[in-house]
């Protein structure tokens, strides 16, 4: 499955698309497939500080909840209000169903994230287990 090459990825299956000192965050198509039909997304309010590696919210299917882990540190500027009423957008197109837009605290943190190729390899290994 193709992962956008201009995104970076985490091992917790989040993607981040950076644009200078701002970035957009979501979860990958692999994540939404494992979760199944998504029924609810719990996201932080604008102004919240998020810390790299710590949880910033959660995503729920009927039978499971998964925490969302911040790929980098930053401040939340915008939250995708559409996901409150139509969380299924994540199932339909995870890579364009963005969750939060943030201002990066330290853009160099992006360097330690996975590229699309690395993430694809990681997913293949995990799937094979």
């Amino acid at each position: 499955m193709p992962f956008p090459t201009d995104y970076k990825y985490t091992k917790e299956h989040e993607w981040i698309k950076a644009n200078g000192s701002n970035a957009t965050v979501g979860i990958t198509s692999y994540a939404q497939e494992s979760l199944g039909d998504i029924v609810f997304v719990d996201l932080p309010k604008p102004g919240t500080e998020i810390t790299s590696g710590k949880t910033f919210g959660s995503v729920e299917s009927v039978k499971a909840v998964s925490d969302l882990y911040a790929p980098v540190s930053g401040t939340v500027n915008e939250v995708n209000g559409e996901l409150a009423t139509t969380p299924e957008k994540i199932n339909q197109d995870a890579h364009s169903a963005w969750m939060i837009k943030i201002t990066l605290k330290d853009p160099s943190q992006l360097n330690s994230l996975l590229s699309a190729t690395d993430y694809e390899k990681f997913v293949a290994e995990e799937g094979g287990k």
């Binding site: 729920e60 039978k63 499971a64 909840v65």
Partner: protein, 460 residues
Amino acid sequence: MRYLPKSPADRKAMLQAMGARSIDDLFSPIPAEYRLERDLKVPRQMAESEIVDWFRERSRENGESNATFLGAGAYYHYRPVIIDSLISRGEFLTAYTPYQAEISQGTLQAIFEFQTMICELTGMEVANASMYDGSTAAAEAVMMAVRLTGRRSVIIARSVHPEYREVLTTYAHHQNLPLSTTSFKDNGRLNLEELEKSITPDTACVLIQSPNFFGTIEDANAIADIVHKKGAMLVVSIAEAVSLGIVEPPRRADVIAIEAQSFGVPLGFGGPYCGVIATREQFVRQMPGRLAGQTTDRNGKRGFVLTLATREQHIRREKATSNICTNQALVALMVNIFMTIYGKVGLKELARQNLAKTAYASAQFGKHAKVLFPGSPRFNEFVVQTSEDPYAINSRILGHKIVGGLPLKKFYPELGNAALWCCTELTTRSAIDTAVGLVAESERSMRSAKEEVDAQEVAR
């Protein structure tokens, strides 16, 4: 043993099929040092008739056929006969939790109807499928408000049931939630000035009970004004559900925690009862307990399922809204049937009779002793203050096979010789008159004893 459906031949055949020599083989995983080699020291096996006799004896030792003036969170109301006829059906009595929705539609639809009626009665938008009881429902409702506001302290009215307050203290203690109490005035209602002063920016919620422990109806709207202005939530506990037939519910509360025992659940020496939490739709994901939701099947047919399970322990585990698993489904079904039987008109009439009996009783008592907390509306309970210790008066009343009001000294020592009396639709005028008569007699003899003492004082 008559509950075990296997013959010795069956057991033998099964062991053979399994290639085991004896039952003992199957218990070999238990280390030998722990295996019991003796009989348990419990009473010997009894025949059914012996069991019935044993419990009949206990029933006789338990004040059979006494009239009662006790309330205080557990109420003696009439239970229509069809409640037990219906809940005794094996398909309700012996069914499991409705996790497999396709073969539990009976239970699930009943829960959905229950949730609907609780909403109608409380003025809230969503209600759950029951909590353990009113006391734990109140504690869980407070925890909900703490989670929702992100604030860490709680104010409780002192006129909330003392045992409910004890439960909340236990729950809050280990969550490091400071609890403070706020007091009531001479009219039985909450002291609003004191309340306003005690709410801080760290107050998550204020918990009140209405009608309160003394039977007095609080001014919930005035309280909501104060509480909301300061950004806190209002949690209202309702212990006497029958009041909802004639008393306006606290529509501006954020969470309501109910004890629904009055709706068709036997007194049963304290349990099982039926707690419920009702709240606004926006808070539903923080509400503990099971929820039945409407949906459709693959053919578009209406059906019901347990939903929003992700709040619960079996999925969230340590992040659950609560640890609650089992609810009170069978008693909730009793409540459901009761609400259906009385319905829109009957619930009002039932409440009205409670009001009438109580108005008569409190007026009669008031002629001879002091009825506390005048000046506020009350539902079916009131407090009578006597010169003599209520325990002594109750002893005499018991001689007439009547249980008198609950002495309050252990809960509210400042009220002196006070007792909490409750009248329901089952309380007879004759019982009221007898009790009033004995209280009147008590007052008379206390007065003349005092007069004698005073006379002796004067004589000296």
